[in-house]
Assembly symmetry: D2
Homo-oligomer: 312 residues x 4
């Protein structure tokens, strides 16, 4: 039994094998981390060379500084993507940012990490040539990951709405002050808690902040959300894993401890006060992650979490 | 929004409201904990009285000692159930045992706890009269819970097969000797670990032994399985939650540490040696749990785990 | 063997038994929580009545609003205590504040909690009459608890110094940004970590924030300090318990993630930036906690942490 | 400030510098792991060569198979050690065994690991030549580690007594049956618990089984004992760290769940039943561990626990 059965990734070689002279993705967009330096420029040049060798129409994101001004770059905009594959060069942070803005365009995303191996950006710079060529020739796997949508309601008015690929957190504003809130699932009270906060994560986010906070690993193909309290003052709280179809609501209690800050993937922040409601649900669009063929989630876990290391 | 939306429980009053003179369950079977004493006898007499008042045909399990010899009891067998509702009087242990043997008969089960409130046996003795009457009159909720099936293969021969409602564990045989094994999901290696063992649990079992071992709470309606290592020698292991459709395989490694014991709900035990494979998958039949109308899983959690208590 | 052997508490009845007509503490000072309301006023009146019945010279802290203006109150100052016993009426927060300012005066402190039982304020309002009378008659136990002292050095200048009875923490300033720092013990590197922060706690503080963050319980008579990382990004970190004689140093690393906020008992806060050093060591003065005779630390733990409750 | 201040290790160069022609240890004893194979033989030959080059009188333990029959070996007995330094070649298991039998002889021990780096056997085979030469020339550090003593009392008769360098555990006998017991410290009840068992560990043992069970790291120079419940059925239990001067008593409760097995360093086992008492206290003798000069406990922790690895 192959790995493609254990996750929503599907190796696509067969689909495109007939016409190998046409690239699997005709139009490629490139999103880059700002200030990526020479390391980025090198990956970028590699990428462009492979694209051109495959007759791929490539473009760089509008507004991004051209990593190599000697190579004139066509441009594309996140608002009107019109690309068949987006390659993100950066780290998991750049990927998160790109994923949030691209998810409604249904365009596949491939991540190249500039630093160490990422959970999302899982192509290393030295592998770009080999892996991108294979991908353009149709040998890759594709995986769907869902996102969360969070709405902040105040006096029945939506004051903010945003999506997150990893997690939506509600945390204390000041380092020395807890938050206190009620949490409900589909209108049923789960608990009222005093803590440093709570992380609501997707399977993708279960290997990020939620893991630091003591949450479980959630398999990428499970339609579930993790709810992890951060330093709760009730010792018998445990992380909760629920079906992603539920509505999770967080309501600060009255009093000095109530308020805090909501964060989306740790990148967007918004205050939440007593009387406000944070509603979290599954977002209607997924992202499509492209992996080199043979991608193995558990191998990545062993590598990133040091499971293969000698134990004590 | 009501609780019935947050879980697979469905309040059934409407379904049966038309003919309230007919009991919702015409034939009732009673399974009792052995040696339940006078406390059991009292619940039993209550139960029989309510059944007779509702014109229900009741029967006691074959082979069980009649808790009140003054009341002649018709008998039924677990092998040929032919009952419309089984009431289990005992604790979660009696429920687990009954669930494993009844699951293939698709008969609803109601649990009355003799001791303290259980996760499965959630009717208290003092509530029997009120709740059973309501249930017979059609006011109840029903919830499906899935089970796990474990097969032990040795030299390509299945040497044992059993089901579990809570969990299947693989643990060391001697208290001072670890086990060491490979774990695969759908044929893909997850890790090779040295530990006291591993718990593979259903959502139902996520509030039992897996919780002691550090596992998360899994909502009863989530189609997922928890995998929790017990005292692993790799500090970066974390509980894993995967879709219940996967096949989990556990293979002891060669050497003195390999072997251990497989347990089903902590009630059936079987040695597992190097060369053997333990295969765990979702069982084809569910159990049907009957709850009094208004059953609230999170309220039960708060109560059982002490979340409502004052915090430190 | 009695409880007095298991902790530094010593029952004192014998010492003072000879002259029971003289109060064990001739001069009593009262410190109160601001805005304690009628509940406070009642405890206060009780306290004053018992003091007067025992011929004790009592005084209220300077600047505190008199809870009962009908009772003229002599005053005392924290700067020149000149009291033989301080009774704090409030909660653990009021006790922490009082402990930090009184520790250098070597005056015993008794805590009366207005809310629920505290770890420090362990006399309930309804027990004030009985317990205070016994204490004034010499029946009590006394326990020493040590404090931590934290110094912030910037360019070789001490920019802040404060003490803490529970803990000194270094945490991220913004809810979505980790800190990154090196930690040394007596000049030896322990690790460089990225996390939400770190708690350095006394045995007293091991039942407070450090416990939420996953730290162990440290017995009150152990001369040790707990070091607990908060949501660390290295999964194999574990709380560390070291002898209280060591010097613990925390140095933010260079870059955007370095800085954060230092808190003393969660009540005093100070920024800490790259280049600064936070040095934590045992403070030279202890506090002296007075308990009613028969005080039992483990009974308090069972009560406060819900150990006596039914288990799942 | 150097590492020698942070722990009881003391670099000894100065002490012996005057007469460098005389070895720091005149008589050396060698204890070896059984069945160590060619890898052991090589380390052994190296060791003997260095000893002879330094004019050291060396001997192999009585009864051990001579790893190189071509080298005639003088013998010594663990019962009458009469050696100035014992070198243990094996792993932490061989060290634990040697430490338990040698502790009353007050002889220093040096550990050479045959496999991967150990917490106790911290000299690698390739370092034997360099480190042993330095040690014989007086450049080393010495560290004292205390042991625990456990006594099993039945009907007021001591039925077993043994010591442990890492830990004394009480665990369930069968993998699927919990133990239930009362634990007291100096006669005061701590709690009554149902669990898979409990680990009582020294600082040395805090990096062994207790760590797998969720216990904290205890610095080697702290005079403290860790008490860690294994998979307890009360979710609010936390590891407890107490002064090593206390007496810890474990008493199984009446009933089928009471009994279990006591283990010393996981190497000696003894049943413990209802009515028996397991008493654990600090043993009167320490062991003396020799380390190469510059030994750094926290560096060893970073290495063994993977703290230096990249984080997720």
């Amino acid at each position: 039994m192959t790995q493609s059965d254990t996750s929503p990734t599907l190796d696509r070689k067969a689909n495109t094998g007939e016409r190998s002279d046409q690239p699997a993705f005709a139009r490629l967009g490139i999103i880059i981390k700002p200030d990526g330096g020479e390391r980025l420029a090198e990956v970028y040049r590699n990428l462009v060379a492979i694209a051109e060798a495959h007759g791929v129409d490539w473009a760089l994101e509008d507004g991004a500084e051209n990593p190599d001004p000697n190579i004139p770059a066509r441009r594309f905009s996140r608002d009107r993507v019109e690309r068949d594959l987006i390659v993100v060069i950066g780290g998991d942070g750049t990927m998160l940012n790109a994923a949030r803005s691209l998810c409604q365009h249904d365009v596949p995303i491939l991540g190249v990490n500039l630093g160490r191996l990422g959970f999302l950006a899982d192509v290393k710079p030295v592998e770009v040539e080999r892996h991108l060529a294979a991908i353009l020739e149709g040998r890759y796997s594709e995986e769907r990951r869902f996102l969360l949508q969070g709405s902040l309601m105040r006096n029945d008015v939506r004051i903010m709405e945003a999506v997150a690929l990893n997690d939506i957190t509600f945390k204390m504003r000041d380092p020395a002050r807890m938050v206190e809130f009620e949490m409900c699932i589909d209108g049923t009270l789960v608990n009222q808690q005093r803590s440093d906060g709570v992380v609501v994560c997707t399977p993708t986010g279960s290997t990020a902040y939620a893991l630091s906070a003591g949450g479980p690993l959630i398999a990428p193909d499970l339609h579930a959300v993790g709810i992890v309290s951060i330093c709760p003052h009730t010792l018998s709280y445990r992380p909760i894993v629920v079906d992603a179809r539920h509505l999770i609501e967080i309501c600060p209690v009255e009093g000095s401890r109530g308020g805090g800050v909501v964060s989306f993937d740790g990148q967007l922040n918004q205050p939440l006060e007593y009387g406000d409601v944070l509603s979290i649900s599954k977002y209607e669009h997924d992202i499509r992650l492209i992996h080199p063929a043979g991608h193995d989630h558990y191998s990545l876990l062993r590598n990133k979490l040091g499971w293969s290391e000698q134990t004590f």
